[in-house]
Amino acid sequence: MSERIAIVASRSGLHARPAAIFTEAAQDTGVQVTVARTGDPREDAMDAASILSLMALGAAQGEELVLRAEGAGADQALDALVQVLETDHDAA
């Protein structure tokens, strides 16, 4: 199991367009990735490929999230997704 910590950079948090961009990126990796707030129980982690789950998570700008995945390609997928999370998609 690999893990990464990332801080939400988008001004509006993980809502709307930033959430859509992240979901698409998660689907593109082809790897099962979960996302949760750091400190939340592991079994409460959400499916990163679900825009509705991400919206329900409602992470705000500056919040720390933990991404988890396992198996082949896990590290590569997580690195790519950290980058997406740490980009401010609301900056015009």
Binding site: R17, D47, S50, I51, S53, M55, G58
Partner: protein, 586 residues
């Protein structure tokens, strides 16, 4: 007792009632002849338990749900590819929701739920409700996405049933769109290259449909009962000036549509100087809601901005924008009008535009609640920061910046607002006159400020006690109502008295949609209104009609309108004295 289904009239049956021509309320002038496309009706809830025994294995039913979700996603993606701006973002995000594991997995689970097997349609319906409930429980921005998930749900159910998707139909050929009413969400997907005119059975002159039609310059008729019985593909003639929809057009209508098409382009042009026939200047200004709008208004030769709606930099946000963000946003508008007047309306949150940081969402009657300037007492600081941002932006541009507060009801409120503005270096404070009390006490209210701008949409709604969103009250919600014209007159008279007492004239403009009605614009000028502010698209038609009358004639027509016992009588008396209107198809 009859079965419910037999009580629905079958669409297009030979003996269906034909009430042609259908009469409605014209909201945007224009004469168009084209085939009709009906907005697809809302999806009916699939019954539980399913009407017929479930077909196929659990596995094949799960697959049907997945396939339908994918088909809906593909359709939304292809529409996103041809859309732009905000519409593209909405469509892309909605496309992702269609195949979302949360929605699809919970639908599949419901197929074999222990409390009863669902059909795939019913399962998707309930799963969508569950997600919608979850989103609305989160409140704020999430709750606004409820309509998106319900739209996706409806699309998947239609796909499963093999029915056309709900919403605005897709057609290669341009058409006249007919609907019960349009929701704000529909407007994101309306393609003005395909839709030539809008006709709705309900909705009033201030409905979302009407506002959209004015913004896009689409001829439109609202509140025309019966139009939903017109079959798809039927050519109809729409006259958006008089509010007629004719489903058996003849040669006369054909010619009228052709001549409108020929003259419409010349009517669009505005010289940049609003004047009566005898050269009396009536500056024609634009209503704008963003820097992009302002740039378009400048291209359309507007003489300034009579109403800058500042909500654009506050909407879709959970928190208040910073002062720096606001300075940038307002500066973008000021930049488009160097040396010209720009009237900024401070934040008008509440009622139909709630903001999470500035609205009390559980008011039983939000139109009469804490909205506009009234929010200042409960949320101190927001208005000061906005005024500070306006002053900062004004300092680095040459635009002549005036500021006004919405929903002012008393002279005390006007005085408070003026002292806030002056304290922050904004030299020209004013008020919106939307509440009848402000019109009735205009001499005291205007004694505290430099100008007033009459918001006829709200003034009409409050004077007539008629919700502006309700199509069934469209006849009351008419700015030609004698009571509304009297309130305009009283505001002008009060301003004159206040101006005489202060030794400086107080200007009274109109920035409601009444100013965009060329006939009513003439009446307003006759009543003593000094500036008119409207959608940039109305500048051409209003200036054309205004330049055909002298001030004396405008005053005479104002007197005619004031004497009329009803709105309809006022409108028809004034229109018949302005033959240019029907010549131009206005």
């Amino acid at each position: 007792m009859l079965e419910a289904s037999s009580t629905f009239p079958s669409n297009g049956s030979a003996d269906a009632p034909r009430r042609t021509p259908y009469m409605g309320v014209g909201v945007v002038p224009g004469r168009v002849l084209a085939p009709v496309r009906q907005m697809t009706a809302a999806v009916q809830e699939p019954p539980f338990p399913g009407g017929s025994p479930a077909q196929g294995t659990l596995e094949s039913q799960s697959q049907r749900i997945k396939d339908a979700a994918k088909a809906v996603q593909a359709d939304l993606r292809s529409r996103a590819a041809t859309a732009s701006g905000e519409a593209k973002n909405i469509l892309s995000a909605t496309a992702l929701m269609a195949t979302d594991p949360m929605l699809v997995t919970s639908a599949i689970k419901l197929l074999s739920s222990p409390d009863g097997a669902r059909t795939p349609e019913r399962a998707v319906w309930e799963a969508g409700s569950g997600v919608a409930e979850m989103l609305s429980g989160l409140g704020g921005y999430m709750a606004e996405r409820v309509s998106d998930i319900l739209d996706v749900r409806a699309r998947i159910v239609c796909e499963l049933r093999g029915e056309p998707a709900p919403g605005i139909p897709y057609s290669e050929q341009p058409f006249i769109l007919v609907a019960e009413d349009l929701a704000p969400a529909d407007t994101a997907t309306l393609d003005p290259r395909k839709v030539l005119a809008l006709v709705t059975a309900s909705g009033g002159p201030q409905s979302h449909t009407a506002i959209l039609a004015r913004a896009l310059g689409l001829p439109a008729v609202v509140a025309a009962p019966g139009v939903q019985e017109i079959p798809d593909g039927q050519p109809v003639y729409v006259d958006g000036a008089v509010g007629i929809v004719n489903s058996s057009p003849g040669e006369e209508q054909q010619r009228a549509a052709e001549s409108w098409a020929a003259s419409a382009s010349s009517l669009k042009a505005f010289s940049g100087s609003g004047r009566t026939a005898d050269g009396f200047s009536v500056p024609l200004l634009a209503n704008v809601g963003s820097a992009a709008d302002a740039a378009l208004a400048a291209v359309a030769c507007a003489e300034g901005v009579g109403l800058l709606r500042t909500e654009f930099c506050f909407l879709n946000r959970d928190t208040e924008p910073t002062i720096a963000d606001q300075v940038e946003a307002y500066g973008g508008v000021f930049e488009a009008f160097p040396g010209r007047k720009v009237v900024v309306r401070t934040l008008d949150a509440g009622a139909d535009k709630p903001l999470p940081f500035l609205s009390n969402l559980d008011e039983p009657n939000p139109a009469l609640g804490v909205r506009g300037y009234r929010a200042h007492a409960g949320f101190p600081g927001v208005l000061e920061r906005q005024l500070q941002a306006i002053a900062t932006a004004a300092a680095s541009h040459t635009a002549e910046v005036w500021v006004m507060a919405p929903m002012i009801s008393t002279a005390e409120e006007a005085a408070e607002f003026a002292s806030l503005c002056l304290g922050l270096g904004l030299a020209t404070p004013g008020v919106m006159v939307e509440v009848p009390s402000a019109a009735l006490t205009a001499s005291s209210v205007l004694g505290e400020v430099d100008f007033a701008s009459i918001g006829t949409n709200d003034l009409t709604q409050y004077a007539m006690a008629a919700d502006r969103q309700l199509g069934s009250l469209a006849a009351l919600n008419d700015p030609w109502q004698p009571a509304v014209l009297q309130l305009v007159r009283l505001t002008v008279e009060g301003a004159a008295a206040a101006g005489a007492a202060d030794g400086k004239p107080k200007s009274v403009g109109v920035c409601g949609e009444a100013a965009a009605d060329p006939a009513l614009a003439v009446v307003l000028v006759g009543l003593g209104i000094t500036t008119l502010s409207m959608s940039a698209r109305a500048l051409g038609p209003v200036s054309a009609v205004l330049s055909s009358v002298t001030v004396a004639q405008a005053r005479e027509l104002a007197a005619v309108a004031l004497r009329a016992p009803t709105a309809a009588a006022a409108r028809s008396a004034v229109r018949s004295a302005l033959p240019l209107l029907s010549e131009l198809g206005l």
